[in-house]
Amino acid sequence: MDPVSSPQRQPRGLLFYAGSAGLLCMMLVEAAAVIGRHVGIPVMGALEIVQAAIVPAACAGMLIATLRGAHAAVHMLTARLPATARRWTGRAGALLAGLFFAALCSGAAWLGVEYWNTYEQSEVLHISFRPLRVLVALTAAALAAAFIKAAFRPGKSA
């Protein structure tokens, strides 16, 4: 996990607000469910709301980590390479990551199409899985695009 302290102020945009909304929704709904259970007022379907709220938080988080270049990697060897070689290994790594997420995007889209007419939904609150599947496929596409863009960005390593 990361160092808790960060000297830099983190940028905020649409991804930040969408992810934060999901995160806070998870936190408050689950806390309300626990309190409700202990005082005898159960919050029905809290688990399903949390399950749905995780998706925007996780998707936004993955995109933020990618755009900030914050993915965990082993730099022991690359740190000892000359700058040019380091730049090229960075580009190659970003390209591979782009291809990986492009494959996941196609798989996620494929599954989305397969399940589209099965009306997948949660049991208690009947939350449809369709928007979640769309969001997951779009996130994979955005991750692929971000990595590929980084691989071909002039003068910068990915």
Partner: protein, 429 residues
């Protein structure tokens, strides 16, 4: 054969600096494509991708991270250190003891070795140097103390292990309590012994009044109560780890407000850092699960398990061999990569030998922790060097050696007495 090739390919990609999650996912996807064909490989990987993102239990990760960031914003690190320093700081080696206690306290809210070492290093290291402590001893004690963050529940490493190994995160947290306490005690013993042998490395300083001590203790009571509520709640079954994380994050927000440390900026900063870190971890977990699926198709773990079984070496010898392997790999790989690469292979082997997966999780994280302070990687040592660049890295390495000896002793104890990890969860059940 395909499994071994997969591991080699993964190591090559990791060495080239490919992000850990991507490297694991890519090897898993390509490996399954070669074994099963492109369609099943793509479907399996995409199912893992979607199910991981919608997995309720994974909510524990961002919520505990949010709790950590909010506690940090509330001043947890400085307050934990100040409380410990006011109690024992005046004794010979007391500031080092306070650093270890502060690391254990802050580790309980940060769940991360690196975070604990970096944060406590910024507080404890200058204070020890100001009081005339040996630089090697001071840096070594913070670097070693930082490793407590990895095992102290709610530990990020244990959460990731629980997800990868499909084990109860609550039981892992409960099982970690005694090992963390004994680890901290052994570090403190190392400090006391060192100060007896070489009194000059940590001179005593002025005692603070009982009034100041009381005030310092009162300042951490709320944070200590929050940590205790979360841990006790999980241990006795008041709530699940995900529920505990949400309660912890909510209460951390309230504490932050009560301490008048909650500003719009600090709140947004905590959210932004939580999203970034959890996003990074989600990619790693997705990749690791795809890689684990590939490994299960290769049968590599079963082949190694039957090889081990054929050697009639017994569980203890096998665990010692695994410990040596992990320490060796831990000297070239970082902790997360080490866990995600080896856990899917080693877990079936140890399970076949009748070793509890919960104990194995604690043992694994404990061994991984040692990698944070042993050369050549020893990431915590470099963190210390980056905080105090005037302390040569060689002196930091030298300073951590006595703690490394305590680490090996602790690991040996954990292997010899599995009850250290297993007794508490069994007793609570």
């Amino acid at each position: 054969m395909s499994g071994a090739l997969g591991v080699v390919a993964l190591l090559a990609l990791l060495a080239l600096g490919v992000p850990i999650g991507v490297a694991m996912g890519l090897v898993g996807l390509v490996g399954m494509t070669l074994l099963l064909g492109p369609e099943p490989a793509l479907i399996k990987s995409s199912v893992v991708f979607f199910e991981t993102l919608t997995r309720f239990e994974l909510g524990v990760l961002p919520l505990f991270l949010l709790m950590a960031h909010l506690c940090f914003a509330a001043g947890a690190s400085r307050d934990f250190f100040s409380a410990a320093a006011s109690m024992v700081g005046h004794r010979r080696g007391g500031m080092a003891l306070a650093t270890i206690a502060g690391c254990a306290g802050f580790g309980a809210v940060s769940g991360s070795s690196l975070a604990t070492a970096a944060t406590m290093g910024q507080i404890g290291l200058p204070e020890m140097r100001r009081r005339g402590y040996s630089t090697a001893f001071a840096a070594g004690s913070v670097a070693a103390g930082g490793t407590l963050g990895s095992l102290t529940p709610p530990s990020g490493a244990l959460i990731v292990f629980g997800i990868i190994a499909e084990q109860s995160i609550g039981r892992l947290f409960t099982a970690a309590i005694v090992p963390v306490i004994t680890q901290a005690l052994l570090y403190m013993l190392a400090i006391v012994v060192l100060c007896r042998i070489r009194p000059g490395i940590a001179p005593p300083s002025q005692r603070v009044s009982w009034r100041e001590r009381g005030a310092a203790i009162v300042r951490v009571l709320d944070l200590a109560a929050l940590v205790a509520l979360v841990l006790v709640g999980i241990a006795v079954g008041w709530f699940t780890p995900t529920e505990a994380a949400s309660i912890g994050a909510t209460l951390a927000l309230v504490l932050c407000a009560l301490r008048k440390r909650l500003t719009w900026d600090s709140f947004c900063e905590a959210l932004a850092l939580t999203l970034k870190t959890s996003g990074m971890l989600y990619v790693v977990i997705i990749g690791a699960l795809i890689f684990a699926a590939f490994m299960s198709f290769t049968g590599l773990a079963e082949q190694i398990a039957s090889l081990v079984h054929g050697m009639n070496s017994g569980p203890v010898t096998t665990i010692v061999i695994i410990a040596l392997l992990l320490l060796l790999l831990g000297s070239v790989l970082d902790g997360l990569a080490l866990m995600l690469l080896t856990a899917p292979i080693l877990l079936p082997i140890t399970t076949a030998l009748g070793i509890s997966p919960i104990w194995f999780g604690i043992f694994f994280v404990r061994t991984m922790e040692i990698g944070f302070v042993h050369p050549p990687v020893g990431i915590n040592l470099y963190v210390m060097h980056s905080i105090a660049p005037d302390i040569p890295i060689g002196r930091v390495f030298k300073g951590v050696l006595p703690f490394l000896a305590a680490d090996f002793l602790h690991l040996a104890l954990l292997i010899a007495v599995p009850g250290m990890a297993l007794a508490l969860p069994r007793w609570l059940e």
